[in-house]
Symmetry: C2
Subunit: 325 residues, 2 copies
């Protein structure tokens, strides 16, 4: 399939692009920087990258690009995806997450494109659901508690409206927490993996962590992007699909797995400052709609995900040390 990926140079964008290439798709990337980061340079050979800032209003150029390139599927990943940052910058968050989606859908409409649009939303839209809603299905009321979550929920309504009102082909994906290689270490699991690798290399004495009691429905990012591609062919327009394993694992357990996988001696220090004020106490996905309709099933175990993340950081840090040395 001919695919257009917005936010192609991000953490998830890179994994999606990799997956699409492996599936034989032709991929065009869109990003506000127009440049691949160091860690994604390996994609530069196979994927053409266009520079385009979706928040920057105007859909004319984008409509033209879509009319010219005729993508069959558009994966919309571009977003201000940091909940913390969204709290201090609600306007910027809304401008990209809602305004950018509006610009994209208007461009698709102007181009009279029949492309399927996979809108990547987020399970955090549900906020902290009452126990009777757990695990959450797609009909759980949205109780967003930060601008990131609220803007994602709003963009979903926009997507549904473009199906019902303008006849566009939009499918909404609501992934729950996901982790993997190349993820920023501002996220808990990536931070853990990095710190464990640093201990192995003698770069730090112990690992600093926040609230370990938090449990999450974590999915390997490679399983998440596989779901996106399944939805591109098997999803229903105007429908929302949760993506998550449905199993909750505590950060404590994740850290234990990493400790077991490490060749070093990992001492843990809990630091209250690392507890995020907008922390989500508990969120568990019911992804039976996705499983039933697309046959999706996660392929990566938690152990595999963490082992790959640890290896990634070992390689990264060694390379940095070699350059420095």
């Amino acid at each position: 399939m001919r695919a257009l990926v917005t936010g192609a140079t991000g953490f998830v964008g890179g994994h999606l692009a990799e997956h699409l290439l492996a599936e034989g798709d032709i991929v065009l990337g869109l990003s506000s920087s127009g440049r691949w980061p160091e860690s994604l340079q390996f994609l530069a050979r196979d994927i053409r990258l266009e520079r385009y800032d979706l928040a920057d209003g105007g859909s004319e150029d984008l409509g033209e690009l879509i009319a010219r390139k005729q993508p069959e599927v558009i994966y919309h990943l571009a977003a201000q995806a940091n909940p913390q940052l969204s709290v201090s910058d609600p306007r910027g968050t809304w401008a990209l997450n809602l305004g950018g989606t509006l610009n994209l859908l208007e461009a698709v409409r102007e181009a009279k494109s029949k492309a399927r649009v996979i809108l990547v939303s987020s399970g955090v839209c549900y906020g902290s659901p009452a126990p009777e809603f757990l695990p959450v299905t797609e009909s759980c009321p949205l109780r967003p508690n930060n601008p990131y979550s609220a803007s994602k929920g709003a963009a979903d309504l926009l997507g549904i409206q473009y199906v019902l009102g303008y006849g566009l082909d939009v499918v909404i994906a609501r992934p729950f927490n996901h982790a993997g290689t190349r993820q920023s270490d501002t996220y808990a699991l990536s931070s853990f993996a990095r710190q464990v690798a640093e201990i192995e290399l003698g770069l730090r004495p112990r690992i600093e962590v926040g609230n370990l009691e938090v449990t999450r429905d974590f999915t390997d990012v490679r399983d998440i992007v596989a779901a996106y591609r399944l939805l591109a062919t098997r999803g229903e327009p105007g429908e929302i699909y949760n993506i998550g394993t449905g199993r909750d694992v505590s950060l404590k357990r994740m850290l234990e797995i990493l400790k077991d996988q490490s060749t070093g001696s990992v001492e843990i220090h809990v630091d209250a400052a690392r507890v995020r004020p907008v922390d989500q106490p508990f969120l568990l996905a019911d992804a039976s709609k996705l499983r039933g309709q697309t046959g999706w099933a996660p392929r990566y175990t938690t152990e595999q995900t963490l082992s790959d993340m640890l290896d990634y950081w070992r390689t990264q840090l060694k390379a940095t040390l070699q350059v420095a040395g």
Copy 2:
């Protein structure tokens, strides 16, 4: 109570202002025009009107105004409320309905105001619910089918987020169809009442109507604004309240009532061009949450509402004829 009303010069704004004055509140109005229309001149003596365009970005001036005037309750009515227009102007609709709400809530936050904000949403957010969801409660999934409905649903998420994320006091009101005097005759009931009055005055031979089979949950606008004021004292922050009688009446039945009330001989002509492409087939409110929590009950019968609307148009048209004559 000290009240600030955005969109004060609109159809609902006028009725709300009238109700608040009758209840002894001190009312400050906000409107993008800064002028009362002819039909609301009677409010000019008691209500100060400030000119402010909520869609026009920036919340600084508004924050200052709120800090200075210290309203205890803010009724947010300003909106692009025409579903038809929203289909042809999605950007303008989102700019005012979502962007304007963001500007207002940011202004409240900047002013460190403890005012309760009544966000006026709409029952059309629910779209055309499947039969099992009727009558619709507040937990019915949103399936907006035009930009007006989608932007209203999105603004509700924004409101919830400002409660959960920033501790603001926001209550969301979801009124279903409402009618009353001074309503634009682009709305079915107002058009019917106007045409019946025109027939009585010999200004037209017959009444032109669209699809009469449509049924609606119609409430008198005076009952709607009474609910807003009840929510100002008895609503719960972050909660959504449907407002509607829960009775569906067909446009056909409404027209029969008007016919019976008329002194003229009303002949009906069905005109397919008057059927709106974004017409809602069926929508019925479950307002038991509102009733239970605030004691709200509609006070006006359909007959009373229609009779008052007919009288309004008779007076309006006679005044116009006198000026013209």
